[in-house]
Symmetry: D2
Subunit: 338 residues, 4 copies
């Protein structure tokens, strides 16, 4: 059985693993103050053309979201997200567990819109209600869609109007970075106050690089990390991995590969007349499968069930850095022969 | 200007104030271990026919909700409410500030329904999502409606099915207690795991009596109160007030008075053909006022604006223990002459 | 049995109770935005000659300490106190419950010293340790001693050196304010960043007036109060009481009375050769009583046991606004006749 | 410069790294539900002869301590530790950040004693004080000492007397496991309620295995992990590493190696007449170095400064799985030739 369940089914991209092997016996200081972390911070800051940014390496996505949001907000302040936002649905209440409310509105193609932000801000003007103070978005979204550079810029502007921080969760950022109308890394850094570059779902063993742009979000962030149990002793492991990902565009190469694999699957489904649920261009495909198609697929492939639909099931298919063209061709052939 | 803004515009019911005056110089021990608190606990437990219940006296409603919910839940557990629930909208994120998510669905006449609970529980079965563990309702609701005894019993049963605590916020409980198809105090105590009897909005200077029925919610609750800064030094003040409210049915008398005052206003509005927004039988009236009616009223009375409607404004009118029949007759006369 | 157990055994000073009676039926807005709160804020700001200060009225001392400390600190920051500090010993972990460590050193006559602060700050310079950010002191202390104006000024200076906020808990402030070498209210406001004026132990039914001097501690504090369940619906009750306490020096009169009552007891004990444990000039007396003296006293008076000593018991005797000269004379006579 | 700064200066033990390489392309499910985690859980449960234990894999020590303590305690409850405990000094307030007070007493050779626990419990019997509910110890301690099996058993018994959980932090457990009078893994599992087996400081890239013995500490712990951002997506990485450490006693082999390296250094120091600060038998050496010795050492080796002493400096020297005999011999020779 070949798994299309997610993009963290395997270990690390071979180039990353090789770097971990090569550096294994070198002695460094701990907690992210080593030369590999410095190198990785340097290449990321060069890529965004912002020497003043702070870059911190963390282990996982929920941890990173919770840390950034809880640093930015007081307990009487809230973060705005859409109802399908990862922090709202799939983090077991981590943001609320840290003491902060999430204000939501129904998503539009998986995304937060300027209108939602306007509405929420206009309705929360009273000291008996939480005060909106941050907007959380993810690139790509939970439905595989993405924000264009114009959409991001518009969100940035509305957050300026209401004195909100804009925070972008980039767990799957690589898949969007390589799309022509999506914002580049440098553009993202211009239009958000903080964002993270996902490693776990982009070929690293683990790790996320949190990039903080807004000066108010920077002071003593490392204390905050330690206080929440999020400072890795062998911090070098994160530096080594992110240096590999960014020293020569491995990150974008992985994004291109996974999108290309996903496109082959998408084309086969469309050609067969099977409707995509939320048409996407990234490495996540949401599709409404008739029961017979589902059964045929699940003889050879694992896919994620999202819920029953009339006559079948909505499923998610995910490609990754490790997805083999062989597996994809085999899947495509199966679809063609349904 | 006469205020119909809320039910906490004045001090205390004269009988309560008199009791505070009479006992002022008597020495007692502190922190709610005095004889007045014991007397008040005794009369409340007699009224619900449950000697095993624990009764704690707290100062305010948000405090009481936050204390009970944070005691009952782990941080990975959530409380279910409707989207208009007081804890969801009007407590400045107190529940989330204490570390707990609120799961909501759109209200039905201001109320939580069994179907909402079923839906939420069936969608939250995965360790990446919060675990529903409590249902929060209020009697009366934020829209002035109330749960009938059958509705409460049905909610109780669905909470048993999903292993949820049922918690009732009775900030305005007196207004419902005197309605024939609403549950009595004894019935409430049978069909919830914890509830509070509001004092602040029912004629006390301040204070809420939290009644804990479920044994798992009882141990060391006083430590929890102290830890959250919610244990009043001169706890006697709460005991004295609740003893007055419950030793001779003053609580119900106040409920009857405020409903009677509200009924007179409701009749006048209906007779005049002005539509009630959410028809109610309690001390809160929500009504869609044409602009001219609003303007005429606001020359003499203060009412709460709830939001613009075509051609006017939705407003809330609230009666209380202190609402004078004179003021109500004057208001009624104004409506008749519109 | 007459109680010298504490200074919150009775209700309110008659003048305060009278004001509550007089204003009972006047309608006001809620949540501390009424005219009585404004009046009380005005007289307090006049007394400290600081129009820029913010004054908030809260219900109790633990609540006030927890609110101010949790507003001022991030979770990786700590508050410095002595090992006998109220927040360290007698608040059931409220400060830690809100997420903040207390760093302590052994007290010197119940007080924090400059040397303690220096030591702690010099030992906490590493991101694996909490960062000291505030100093907590109380006037008077848990042992009935007090900070002189010179001591307070010295603490202020050391807190400037290490970028620490200085916060003064004035639960029993009135007893110190009337001593000649203790800082006046105006001086306190010059040498701290925030302090509270105790009402509960100084003749109010309940209530503490938090005075915030440092601009960084002011923004949106009312949201923080509401989020922690600490905003009283009938906020007027606090305004009315503090206006009475400060419009004509009732606060200082109460301090003088309780100190005078305590002095009479102190003189009798000293004359009898019974050693005071921590000599004080305020309304708390700590004394090491021989067993026979304890037994004789406890036939007529209640005192607080602090722990066994060889041949007897250390006890605390507290006077208050309500302590009658008659009771004190009777106690003195008992001591003389031991 | 060769580093004796700590036991996490290098990557992973070669056998562990090899296992990560070998399994890299195998697809597994995420979040610790894969077959490698199951294997690792199985071998650990066999080693402690307790099939009912729960084993969870976490990323770091501070995270593990904070998770276990915050799961076990309510906010009004406290954990007992000694003043040198890792949670008290070196975790940037993580335990308090999660809402819990640490009650401390001065250490005895780096350890908690039964007497400390008795004292603390007898002094905390009042609802105005936190309630002791857990004891935290570490094996080995912050001073390189360790609890014998008799000492552990005695602590276990006193915790039973006062209804306290006993929790053992085993960040450096391997160094103690191989000492004859220290408790074995099986004995530890008999005499504590929860403990963790350190990986980060024992040859893993990262990771700690939390073993929960007491049934009350088990339910829904994985929800708690996720809520705190502590559930690793590629959980397999932890399973693979702990399986290598425990399938064939690699863990104990590493402990033996690091102790043997430390012994050689200790012997050289003692022979030279340089006093060990806290004599130990484990991989941490604390020694009071004269200034000339320190200077000579620091031309070739890095050691941790613990604080000035008359005429020199107290330093810590740490050996690890990666410490080479060559480096140790060179260090020994340097000491002999001082």
């Amino acid at each position: 059985m070949y798994s299309f369940l997610n993009d963290y089914s395997e270990g690390a991209h071979p180039q990353i693993l090789e770097a971990l092997n090569q550096t294994n016996l070198i002695q460094t200081v701990g907690y992210g103050k080593d030369e590999y972390c410095h190198l990785a911070q340097k290449v990321i800051k060069e890529r965004i053309h912002n020497e003043q940014a702070d870059v911190h390496f963390l282990v996982g996505g929920t941890q990173t979201n919770m840390l950034m949001i809880s640093y930015a907000l007081k307990h009487y302040q809230a973060v705005i997200a859409c109802d399908e936002g990862h922090i709202q649905v799939h983090e077991t209440g981590a943001v609320e567990g840290a003491g902060h409310k999430i204000l939501t509105r129904p998503h539009v193609h998986g995304k937060v819109t300027c209108q939602m932000i306007e509405d929420i801000c206009q309705q929360h003007t009273d000291e008996h209600m939480v005060q909106p103070r941050m907007v959380y978005i993810s690139q790509t979204t939970e439905l595989g869609t993405y924000y264009t550079r114009d959409e991001l810029k518009a969100l940035y502007e509305v957050t300026r109007k209401y004195d909100l921080y804009l925070f972008l969760d980039g767990a799957r950022l690589g898949s969007a970075l390589v799309l022509p109308d999506a914002p580049t890394l440098e553009e993202i850094a211009q239009y958000v106050d903080a964002f993270y570059i996902g490693g776990t779902k982009m070929g690293a063993l683990f790790g996320e690089a949190l990039v903080i742009i807004h000066d108010d979000l920077k002071p003593q962030f490392r204390y905050h990390m330690k206080n929440k149990g999020a400072m890795l002793a062998k911090g070098r492991l994160l530096g080594i991995q992110f240096y590999e990902l960014f020293k020569d565009h491995l990150y974008e190469d992985i994004g291109l590969h996974e999108n290309r694999m996903a496109d082959m699957i998408r084309q086969a489904l469309i050609k067969k007349g099977i409707p995509l649920y939320e048409p996407s261009a990234t490495n996540q495909i949401f599709v409404d499968l008739p029961q017979n198609a589902l059964e045929a697929i699940e003889k050879e492939f694992m896919v994620t069930h999202m819920g029953a639909i009339p006559g079948g099931e909505r499923v998610r298919i995910v490609t990754s850095w490790a997805t083999s063209q062989e597996a994809v061709l085999s899947f495509v052939s199966l679809i063609e022969n349904l």
